[in-house]
């Protein structure tokens, strides 16, 4: 269950974001940090989403959060 304070903080965030022009919001939104393994290859292609999900589970560090629950 969400706390009312969390909800109202989120609402404030949404309203503040709505006031920003798209280009400005974009600048805040896209960041780049190195993701181990994930960022170590320049190109990967998977026949199916299932192959991709399995690859993530078997190869990426768990803390990246790509494993299925």
């Amino acid at each position: 269950m969400l706390k009312d304070t969390t909800r109202s903080e989120w609402l404030e965030d949404f309203e503040a974001a709505a006031r920003r022009p798209l280009a400005q919001g974009w600048r805040y939104a896209f960041i780049k940090t190195y993701k181990p393994v994930m960022d170590d290859a320049k190109f990967r292609a998977f026949d199916t989403m299932e192959d991709y999900r399995r690859w993530c589970e078997q190869n990426l560090p768990r803390w990246l959060g790509y494993a299925r629950v």
Binding site: K42, F43, D47
Partner: protein
């Protein structure tokens, strides 16, 4: 590699328009375009699977500065379900079969244009994250659902 810049998103929009590519922003990058205040590292594009679209996509990506070998181009043209590009001017994921969405056409019929960026409807973005059911999605879904309520209430204002 630097972060994905708005100017580059504009370049995608223009190049994809020139090449008549059928695509939609999806995932967190799509939600950000709808106004969701959060962070992401890359852009996810849901691309319609067809031979012509695949060929046009390769041409547009090369134009944007993605250094694709012939083998890589061929994999994109063949319509692999998921392609991760990390050797261009920004990080990009091509998703041809996102979890939770049956057909591109369905998502297209529900899509939203944001300053001419074609974006999946918030319900498809949430549905796809729900279906993927990854740890990172579980963490972001409550806030995304709250944003959905806000967005639906305020989208036409």
């Amino acid at each position: 590699m630097p972060a994905f810049e708005y100017k580059q998103a504009e370049e995608i929009k223009q190049a994809f328009k020139r090449h008549r590519i059928c695509y939609l922003f999806i995932g967190k990058s799509g939600a950000i375009l709808l106004g969701f205040p959060d962070t992401s590292q890359d852009a996810d594009l849901f691309v319609d699977r067809s031979v012509d679209n695949g060929r046009a996509l390769v041409a547009a990506l090369r134009e944007l500065g993605f250094d694709l070998s012939d083998n890589q181009a061929s994999e994109i043209e063949r319509g692999k379900d998921f392609v991760q590009l990390r050797h261009g001017p920004f990080d990009l994921n091509l998703v041809l079969a996102p979890d939770g969405i049956e057909r591109f056409e369905d998502a297209w019929n529900r899509h939203v244009d944001v300053e001419d960026f074609p974006v999946c409807h918030i319900d498809d973005i949430i549905g796809s994250k729900q279906a993927a059911n990854r740890e990172r999605d579980r963490e972001s879904l409550p806030r995304l659902r709250a944003f959905r309520e806000y967005w639906l209430k305020n989208r036409n204002q």
